[in-house]
Symmetry: C2
DNA sequence: TTTAGCACTCACAGAAAAAGAGTGCTAAAG
DNA sequence: CTTTAGCACTCTTTTTCTGTGAGTGCTAAA
């Protein structure tokens, strides 16, 4: 059976009405609101066809129709009218970034909040994959007899600091020496590579300072390594209560637990190809318990190599067009602001 | 009317049975489970008296009785048996802190999680009031022609860092000079005081470096000032779904919104006097929408002057004894660990 | 002062009934 | 061959009604 013009119109109407109302939509509604001049009986025939093709489904006999995953997919890929952001949306976004760029962390956190407010869905952002960042240099500043301050500067302008305990008998000159060696050997390496290779060599090379090295390494790994790249920023947790899909408490329970755990959220965001916004609908999400949700995701960049991910999670009946352009615009802006403030 | 021994026993029984079951408790239950040898009719009389005194209330005629705010208050103040932490609880706590002390932030975050797991309620912790911290010293490290790194060390061993833009023509010696002046003038002052008084003087004194000073000041205020002391750490958000008090979605909605906002939570935790755990029951919380909740709160200390607050929010029918001792023990431990790692 | 007995109240659960929305099918019209 | 009107049918949702049980308050006796 062919998807002719009118079938597409019917599909589009069903999707858009359902997105707005959340109620299954019937033939009469369409014949009166969307395709005036065509009788409800005709629409019924078209709908039966669309159902046979797997684009619509019926919650039960004698209810209206609801789009299926594939129905949404066709809508998103072919039918969705382009959405241009409203003045209001644009100014909301630009006013956030207009302020002086503050710390990266809080900027990302604010972005999550912004996205959730603008979309009314749940926004999640993964911190940049810092393990891909490259080491620039470090300094060791003696504070007093026993303690010294270690400062790390990386590629993207990130700074990390930590306290070192200095064993008795190690003086400032020796700390300088350690720093010099480290700087010389590690410059330009990615954090990953340092953790994997370079470290072992250094450890035997500077074995008399092992105690200090261990601490420095610890700091490097803890703050920049695997753990921190999984950092999740959330906005709009309360929004998930808004849509009726989650009025069932069990659903809510499992989703909230997932959110709390944060680990579950990391795998949620799929790999996204560059400068593209990806939409995953219902069952296209691998997570069983999210089969009633959809996700709109994209990447952001800091400089050439550092990337993080942004996603908006909402009910399957999501305002795809609007969210799509919001996510696109926000990731672009975020990338620009972060890159600028990191000195690229 | 006097609160004789038996009335107190009845009150205690009602509270403890209701805390466990969540169901209003009737005279028969008490006569059989708690005061064997006294008939239900007698209990009914006692209960009527207790109700008249405002310690119990009836959801409706012909339901059992439920403790009122004042009833809980009497229970908490006089009737509650002391709770000693179980082996299990103790080991859960000590195993968290046994690990090497990591960053303060993550330690606090973990504590929130721990408390929520141990109590099954919502745990919230306010970060320490950094504005009470005193300035120790700062360093300015030139990174390249245009940028320098500012490192702040304060009283409690906290470090803050930030990038400075250095205007053309300002060389390393001048940066050293600025740092020296600042160190000399600000040492030992609280951050609050610097913000209020000292700053203005310095600004005119070093007016030719105003651009750099502004940035340094900005950093100081942003990271250590008012804003950051309101930082809220949460654990167990999902727990609030557990208790039936919040099965009504509107309630949940408003609480979650409050949680998300975080501002609302700051005022939630009352001023607490030192080394004491405070319990606020139902209407004793000023927030209207939390009149079905109770809060157990305490202070923690880092060194002599820095304080933060810890709270556990749960349903009014809370296991007060257990939560009380948990909060007490956790704040003590947290204080000790944080103080030690800050070098006190 | 305590207890037994009894009538009364109220929420809750389940069944039955009524209302409503929407469909599928058939037959007629264009 | 396509579109439309009409109608019976299905299924959910809402409302109404009724029975049941837990628990109380009161009275009178121990």
């Amino acid at each position: 059976m062919r998807l002719d013009e009118r079938k597409l119109q019917v599909l589009q109407s069903v999707v858009e009405d359902f997105v707005r109302s959340g109620e299954p939509v019937g033939s009469r509604t369409i014949s009166r609101k969307y395709l005036v001049g065509v009788s409800s009986a005709t629409i019924r025939n078209e709908m039966a066809d669309l159902e046979e093709m797997g684009l619509l489904e019926q919650p039960h006999t004698s209810a209206g129709r609801v789009p299926s995953d594939r129905g949404y997919r066709v809508y998103v890929d072919h039918l969705m009218p382009p959405h241009t952001l409203t003045e209001q949306e644009l100014s909301l976004i630009s006013s956030l970034y207009a302020r002086k760029a503050r710390e990266m962390e809080s900027l990302i956190q604010q972005t999550a909040r912004l996205l959730s407010e603008a979309t009314n869905y749940l926004a999640l952002i993964l911190g940049p994959q810092l393990s891909q960042t490259t080491f620039r240099h470090l300094k060791i500043l003696p504070l007093n007899e026993e303690k010294a301050l270690l400062v790390l500067v990386t590629d993207a302008g990130f700074l990390e600091k930590g306290l070192l305990e200095v064993p008795g008998g190690v003086g400032p000159q020796e700390l300088d020496y350690i720093a010099a060696v480290l700087n010389d050997r590690l410059r330009g390496m990615t954090v990953d590579r340092i953790a994997q290779e370079a470290w072992k060599e250094l450890r035997s090379e500077l074995s008399q300072y092992r105690f200090i090295l261990e601490q420095a390494f610890q700091l490097l790994v803890e703050t920049v390594g695997k753990e921190s790249e999984e950092r999740v920023y959330l906005g709009g947790t309360a929004n998930i209560l808004r849509f009726p899909e989650f009025q069932r408490l069990e659903r809510l329970q499992s989703l909230l637990a997932r959110i709390e755990g944060e680990e579950g959220l990391v795998n949620l965001l799929p790999e996204v190809s560059d400068s593209q916004v990806v939409i995953l609908i219902g069952g296209e999400l691998t997570q069983q318990d999210l089969r009633d949700c959809s996700l709109v995701a994209a990447k952001y960049h800091i400089g050439p190599s550092l990337v993080g991910r942004v996603g908006v999670l909402g009910p399957r009946r999501m305002e795809y067009a609007r969210v799509l352009s919001l996510v696109g615009h926000v990731t672009e802006t975020l990338s620009r602001v972060l890159s600028r403030s990191a000195g690229f």
